[in-house]
């Protein structure tokens, strides 16, 4: 414990930023782990450049990681950081305007050389002027770090690589986080001089906080009151991968993932590739089309076929996805949306692919679409998607996004015994077998797999005759089959529980969201409710089909506001399907919504009523 005074605060948001080579993501991740173990509720957001290594010291190369933690419930990484740790002038310039007025800005003053200052695009040293608006703390991180490891005989390059851990140690002191998890991690990862250097530097940072006069005292953020249970930190991509593993276990069939590397979905492939002992087979295909095609082949052969991708890959997969619709095979397609169009901003956030998922194929090609709403929810969403896929014999699209994929939150580890379990049963009876004979309840066709005698059959993309599945060009049959496939997808609604409304059941304004905007929307609506506004919100996980009571819920509110990180994709559907005056709140900056933005808009929409 610190000998200096400590002050208790409810919440704080810290952003680490530096060159992409400075290890900011690692620093942020380690801080997050320590914070989770300290029992806070938290939310994180990494922000990194698409280039692997942009030139050092330039704005293009700045990488950041924001972590928001609290003793109360929080749902977002916070609109603006309270503390910025900037490793160089470029990082300062790219981030300082986001900091809350009066917030603390800790800079590595050693990096503020003339050259670096100019490279960042500043004429002069920006620190004096910024001092009027922020509390600037100048720490000579580079030299303190070098001093800490001087006796180890490392070269200055190797020594400098540890400097992020100096800052990490300092922040551990400032917010009274435990160092042990990071020390344990270092020991598992490094040895010899490198281990020693990192350990020393981490501790030196901590000790510096204790002794320096720059910080009069430290802060304590008490434990949050959260639902009891065992927790861990999880990012959306890890949760997605584990949900896929869980699907194999719960449905009792092997998983086959076909994937092609693409940001930000590659991590799901990386993670799943480690679970061969679960019988999970991952296949890095030659392209996006082969990835989905192989997954469909695996499904035909009786496996849980899945493919993971992001926008540009989603476009390429559409023809094969249409085949999965026509052949009525179970398949899950995960689209981790990123900012488009085209290559767009691969590491930035957008909800641009809803209409692509719903309507991106030729002809009438209905596909159920689910969207995860938080990092941990990716686990449950993909597991549900697999259940729908095998129960209804249909491909299912799961939408995630860059924000969910990379941000982390504490996650209540689910009890495996309580997870839905639906072992797959294949059709084996040869007598009277017809490949397109449907289950009267679900309209699913039978899943009969190669190796089963007597159920040999051919499927393909050509129009199918009802029941037999033979190639057919009959006009009435074609119309009938289209109607059947539509009806089958609509019947999935019978499995969806009614929407939960956040706030009153009726009122002046309903805010509707889907996907990764859940945290920002809910926090904004909560704030507006606290201010006495008549506003509620719902968040849709099921985008096709919608929950059965959606229309009825919409009818209970005077106005409807739909915040979307696109130019309006859910909004026009709500208008046309339910004939309600849904108002769009659009944002297309590659960044998530800020809570305040939505809170302000709620005020605007309810303007007259407020006054």
């Amino acid at each position: 414990m610190s000998g200096k005074p400590t002050e208790e605060i409810e919440r704080v948001a810290i952003r680490f930023c530096g060159d992409s080579g400075d290890g900011m993501q690692l620093t942020g991740t380690k801080f997050t782990e320590a914070t989770a173990l300290a029992g806070n509720d938290l939310s994180t957001l990494p922000d990194y450049p698409a280039e692997i290594r942009a030139p050092a010291g330039t704005l293009a190369g700045v990488s950041g990681f924001q972590v928001h933690f609290s003793s109360a419930d929080i749902r977002t990484p916070a609109d603006s950081p309270d503390v910025l740790v900037a490793f160089n002038p470029a990082a300062l310039r790219a981030n300082v305007e986001d900091v809350r007025p009066g917030g603390m800005v800790i800079v590595n003053v050693d990096a503020f050389t003339r050259k670096n200052i100019q490279r960042a695009g500043y004429e002069d040293d920006p620190l004096p002027a910024l001092g009027d608006r922020f509390e600037i703390v100048e720490v000579p991180i580079t030299s303190l770090n070098r001093a800490a490891v001087s006796s180890l005989g490392l070269g200055s390059r190797d020594a400098d690589r540890a400097k992020n851990f100096f800052a990490l140690g300092l922040m551990y002191w400032l917010y009274n986080r435990p160092m042990e998890p990071t020390l344990r991690w270092l020991e598992s990862r490094f040895e010899g001089n490198v281990l020693e250097a990192n350990v020393r530097v981490l501790k030196a940072g901590h000790a510096f906080g204790e002794t320096t006069e720059l910080f009069p005292g430290s802060f304590i953020v008490p434990r949050a009151k959260i639902q009891p249970g065992i927790y861990r930190n999880i990012t959306g991509n890890t949760a997605m991968a584990w949900g896929i593993v869980a699907a194999g276990v719960q449905l009792q069939r092997p998983v086959f993932l076909g994937a092609y590397p693409i940001t930000p979905a590659s991590d799901v492939l990386h993670e799943l590739a480690r679970y061969r002992h679960f019988g999970v087979k991952t296949f890095q295909a030659e392209d996006e089309i082969a990835a989905i095609s192989a997954a469909i082949g695996a499904s035909f052969a009786g496996n849980l076929g899945i493919t993971t991708t992001s926008g540009p890959g989603m476009v390429l997969k559409q023809e094969a996805l249409g085949l999965a619709v026509m052949t009525e095979l179970p398949l899950v397609v995960v689209d981790i949306q990123r900012a488009g169009p085209s290559t767009g901003m691969p590491t930035k956030i957008e909800q641009g692919d809803l209409l692509l998922a719903l309507h991106g194929r030729n002809g009438v090609s209905p596909v159920p679409v689910l969207a995860a709403y938080s990092p941990g929810d990716c686990f449950h969403t993909v597991l549900e998607a697999f259940q729908i896929a095998v129960t209804y014999m249909t491909p299912v699209v799961v939408l995630s996004d860059t924000y969910l994929a990379n941000s982390a939150e504490p996650w209540l580890i689910p009890d495996v015994e309580a997870l839905p379990r639906r072992p797959v049963e294949f059709h084996t009876e040869a007598e009277g077998f017809q490949p397109y004979q449907r289950d009267p309840e679900t309209l699913a066709r039978p899943w009969a797999i190669p190796g089963n005698p007597g159920t040999e059959h051919r499927i393909g993309g050509l129009s199918k005759e009802d029941v037999t599945g033979n190639v057919a060009y009959d006009p009435a049959n074609n119309e009938h089959m289209i109607a059947l496939r539509n009806e089958k997808v609509q019947r999935i609604a019978q499995e969806i529980s009614p929407i939960e409304i956040f706030g009153s059941d009726s009122g002046k304004l309903l805010v509707i969201g889907w996907g990764g905007t859940h945290g920002a929307i809910t926090s904004a609506v909560e704030a507006a409710q606290e201010d006495g506004l008549s506003v509620s919100s719902i968040h849709l996980r099921h985008l096709n089909p919608f929950p059965p009571n959606l229309g009825e819920v919409l009818g209970r509110f005077d106005k409807i506001l739909v915040p979307e990180l696109n130019c309006g994709q859910l909004t026009p559907i709500l208008r046309s399907e339910f004939l309600v005056p849904a108002e769009l709140m659009a944002k297309n900056q590659g960044q998530p919504f800020k809570v305040q933005e939505i809170r302000d808009r709620i005020g605007n929409v309810l303007d007259e009523e407020v006054r």
């Binding site: 029992g39 679970y275 019988g279 087979k281 495996v416 005698p453 159920t455 059959h457 393909g460 993309g461």
Partner: protein, 342 residues
């Protein structure tokens, strides 16, 4: 009910669908011969899967009374990879054409062969697009006049076998739609091979490119136009009075005229070996084109390499023996966790 593999006949492999190729199409013969070979392979009927893309040849699965998938244009090898990678017990056959396999699907063909996925790929080469009614294909001759090339094709054709060899194929063969005996033997060999078996079947399209392969399809002309490859036998063709052989020097093939009493090998004629480690020899064979050379038919190359599926199964088995069967609860609780108490 399942017919025991041993008692199957070609009839067991005929589906109830009317075969809808043009009269005289080479595909009929290929279908009939394949249906004749299937019962001999010792595989239960329910373990066969036929996968195709789009094109005339890709109608194939509908006519085989086995499991089958008629997929999307060019992608059949990728579907087949997913089937075989998850179900090593199945006998998986890909049926494709020169347009489906080498144009839109070139990438998948390349990578499936490269991975040595244990499937049979039959590429029916008629050097034209049939289903879309007669455009030139990637194997069409330079200058070929079609609806889409009224002034003649100006792109250089690719040889399917050269393509396969370039991709590292472990089994490469060429046969002819109407050469029943030869076709059947090549299919048997393809099935027996572990890894990707790539078979080019020269196929006549009487509607859009009639008689493209006449010289080798016609029994009489074939003697002077086709070089029948036999393992460990010299590269000799022709009949009495017009025998010749192929010499390969510095990788460059040339023709040696042979008198009837000549010892071909002594004259420098190369001996055919399917098992050369380097594909250079097979590549030289694939470069033999009419009319300067005879067209080789038979097995160009057959080498042994582990298949993709075997390596994948090895990894799964190793992971299981090292880490035990996956335990979901243990996975979810791995790493740093903490307990929140009420």
């Amino acid at each position: 009910m399942a017919a025991a593999a041993s008692k199957l006949t070609s009839k067991d492999f005929q589906s109830d669908q009317d075969v809808r190729w043009c009269p005289g199409c080479g595909d009929y013969s290929i279908l009939a011969n394949l249906q004749r070979v299937m019962p001999e392979l010792g595989v239960p009927r329910e373990n066969f899967v036929f996968v195709s893309g789009i094109g005339c040849s890709s109608r194939f699965p509908y006519y085989m009374n086995t499991y089958g998938m008629h997929t999307i244009h060019g992608r059949a090898p990728a579907f087949a990879t997913g089937i075989k990678a998850t179900r090593p017990d199945l006998s998986v056959w890909v049926v494709t054409g020169d347009g489906d396999g080498l144009s839109i699907g070139g990438n998948h063909l390349l990578h499936t062969i490269r991975r040595n996925v244990n499937v049979q790929i039959l590429l029916f080469n008629n050097r034209v697009y049939g289903l879309t009614k007669g455009q030139y294909s990637p194997t069409s001759r330079l200058g070929m006049k079609t609806k889409s090339t009224p002034d003649g094709a100006i792109d250089h054709p690719i040889d399917p076998l050269a393509f396969a060899l370039g991709a590292g194929a472990t089994f490469v063969a060429r046969t002819i739609d109407v050469h029943t005996q030869h076709l059947q033997e090549v299919l048997r060999r393809a099935h027996a091979h572990r890894g990707t078996s790539f078979v080019e079947i020269l196929q006549n399209c009487p509607v859009y490119n009639d008689n493209e392969w006449l010289e080798v399809e016609d029994r009489k002309q074939r003697v002077g136009a086709a070089l029948v490859l036999e393992d460990d036998e010299p590269l000799v063709w022709g009949s009495e009075g017009s025998r010749a052989g192929i010499r390969i020097h510095d990788g460059v093939p040339s023709v040696i005229e042979l008198a009837d009493d000549h010892d071909a090998v002594a004259k420098g004629v190369a001996i055919h070996h399917e098992r050369h480690e380097t594909p250079a020899y097979a590549f030289a064979l694939a470069s033999l084109q009419r009319p300067a050379f005879p067209l080789p038919i038979g097995v160009f190359r057959a080498v042994d390499k582990p298949s993709y599926g075997e390596l994948l199964e090895d990894q799964v088995a190793t992971a299981r023996s090292r880490r035990g069967e996956g335990d979901l609860a243990a996975l979810l609780n791995s790493g740093d966790t903490w307990e929140v108490t009420p």
